[in-house]
């Protein structure tokens, strides 16, 4: 799809209201960067003005350090990539010590993505982050396809998902955002389950389970054999699932999946997203989020709209 709104009309929409209040998180604009594609902030600080982002969602953190999967961990495919990093992270204590001082220096909401191998581990990491200054919300990963225990096992069964979310809810006052898997028969059922369990918002989609085989060796390319597909290839899937989730729940939705330019972000918002996250495209072009913000402004100006909020769920029936 050609990108008409690519941020080239620099004067467009100066007086537009681009702010979003996402279940208590006040954002300058609705465009955040997705977990796992932006490190913990410093990695991209030379290329991106972090204070211009709607929010930063940092790479997944667990109660204890995690080594992740063996290599190879990532392979490019047509219109996307398949990864099986395996949630490598330094653990919550080191994250707070090493990265929070840096993140606090920037005028941008920080959402910490958390995960665990058991309900108790989710509770523990959420508890550790409760009194840390400078954190706006917790994104609870119940949908990673790349670890055997936990992760997606919680995210494909509404009862398990509800159990994790209500356990984390008891531990935190922060805005609580479960991240849902696309790999479920009915996303509405999952979204309602986490809403009922106390979620303030919901983010989707995580990567789609996928696999790549090297036909010369006949071996899987990834050391983990299977991984998660992301990038432009998954975008229409995300549009459909955001739309279905929007019909199912009242809490706001963060839409993500294959955003490379403003048009795809606008499409997700029309489908029901209150905010969007740029993921894989950060690797291609670190300025994607800023291009998307400019492009949304141009679109609003061209359509005579004053507030970005009015885009959310503005889909018309056929």
């Amino acid at each position: 799809m050609p990108c008409k709104y690519d941020g080239n009309m620099s004067n467009a929409g100066k007086n537009l209201d681009m702010t979003v209040d996402l279940a208590g998180i006040r954002m300058k604009n609705p465009v955040m960067v997705a977990s796992g594609t932006f490190g913990y902030g410093p990695e991209y600080a030379d290329f991106v003005n972090l204070s211009e982002l709607g929010a930063i969602v940092v790479k997944g953190i667990s109660a204890e350090p995690c080594e992740g999967n063996p290599v190879p961990r990532m392979v490019e495919v047509k219109s996307g990539l398949v990864n099986a990093i395996g949630l490598q992270n330094p653990g919550v204590a080191k994250f707070i010590k090493e990265y929070m001082p840096f993140l606090r220096k920037h005028d941008v909401p920080v959402i910490v993505n958390i995960w665990g191998k058991s309900v108790e581990e989710y509770e523990r990491v959420a508890g550790c982050l409760n009194d840390v200054e400078g954190i706006a919300g917790l994104e609870v990963n119940i949908s990673c396809p790349n670890i055997k225990e936990g992760g997606i096992a919680f995210g494909t069964d509404p009862k398990s998902a509800g159990r994790v979310v209500s356990a984390v809810r008891k531990q935190t006052r922060l805005t609580l955002i479960p991240k849902l898997s696309p790999n479920v028969p009915d996303i509405g059922v999952m979204a309602r389950a986490v809403e009922d369990a106390g979620a303030d918002a919901v983010s989707l989609i995580n990567t789609m389970p996928a696999m790549v085989i090297d036909i010369e060796t006949r071996k899987p390319v990834l050391a983990n054999t299977v991984g998660g597909l992301s990038g432009p290839a998954v975008h229409p899937v995300a549009v459909k699932l955001v739309w279905e989730a929007w019909k199912a729940v009242k809490i706001p939705i963060i839409g993500m999946g294959g955003i490379t330019c403003a048009e795809e972000a606008i499409e997700l918002m029309i489908a029901g997203a209150s905010a969007v996250a740029v993921g894989t495209a950060n690797f291609t072009d670190p300025s994607t989020a800023s291009r998307v913000v400019k492009g949304i402004r141009e679109y609003l100006a061209r359509h005579g709209m004053a507030c970005v909020k009015d885009l959310t769920g503005s889909i018309k029936t056929r």
């Binding site: 796992g36 990695e43 991209y44 080594e67 961990r73 495919v77 990093i85 490598q88």
Partner: protein, 259 residues
């Protein structure tokens, strides 16, 4: 570190499968150090998601040059571009070779197009040394003239014997080290993992420093995605992942835990 739209000034063809391209990117060229790389986004290829890393071969007069082998989708697409075309570059990225080696002789070991960052290094080193260039065949031996111009001693090895000594470049290196035990060189190497592992073994056996530049498939290029990790041994003795793009691509031989 910068993102620059770089115009291709010139394309050279040093061999059937090899290309050198000269790119105008003043900010990157002005701050590039040997062993660092640029992360390239190819234009007009919408189904390519990831940038491609290329080590810097030359950096002078506002231009950089890269030397690459056509091996896959990215490099095939790159080989279709001509002078006047533009690519998007992030760089210079990564930690390069240490260049301060007072009094010691630099010995460089290249496998195939791994010679590219070493040619840049030789230009920046104050001391002349010895370069060992290896490849499968004569067609894979590149940059000999670059080192001749700098008056370096050049040793060539090909696996089929079509140029220089017949055999692996590391065998020729070993013979040289055995013959010159009084010289205490600092080794610098870039090439396939097997070659780097062999250089590492020779260096550790002789208690020499060896700086190895690793070639890995990368995602983000800035340390965020954790795709290009390498198992390392840290000073306190514990092992863990290092990011080749950010913590490397150059590591000292003793840091690397080989598979």
């Amino acid at each position: 570190m910068n993102i620059e739209q770089a115009q291709i000034k010139e394309v050279q063809k040093p061999g059937e499968q090899y290309r050198i391209i000269v790119l105008n990117c003043p900010a990157i060229a002005g701050s590039a150090a040997p062993g660092q790389f640029v992360h390239m986004l190819l234009p007009g290829l919408k189904d390519i998601t990831l940038r491609r890393p290329f080590s810097i071969f030359k950096a002078e007069d506002g231009n950089i040059a890269i030397l690459y082998k056509i091996v896959g989708r990215g490099t095939s697409a790159l080989s279709m571009l001509a002078a006047g075309d533009e690519v998007d570059l992030m760089g210079p990225l990564g930690k390069g070779f240490p260049c301060d080696i007072a009094g010691e002789i630099p010995v460089l070991v290249a496998g195939g197009y791994g010679v590219a960052p070493l040619a840049f290094l030789a230009k920046r080193l104050k001391t002349q040394g010895v370069i060992f260039i290896g490849g499968a065949s004569a067609a894979d031996i590149l940059c000999v003239k670059e080192f001749e111009k700098l008056n370096w001693e050049i040793r060539i090895a090909t696996e089929d014997g079509s140029m220089g000594d017949k055999g692996l470049v590391t065998e020729v290196l070993k013979a040289w080290l055995d013959k010159n035990p009084e010289r205490r060189p600092v080794l610098y190497a870039c090439g396939p993992d097997g070659m780097l592992k062999a250089v590492s073994g020779l260096a550790v056996d002789r208690d020499l420093k060896a700086w190895l530049s690793l070639d890995k498939h990368m995602g983000c290029g800035v340390g965020a995605c954790l795709a290009c990790v390498q198992k390392l041994k840290f000073p306190d003795g514990h092992t863990g992942w290092g990011r080749v793009c950010k913590d490397g691509p150059v590591f000292e031989a003793r840091e690397i835990v080989w598979n």
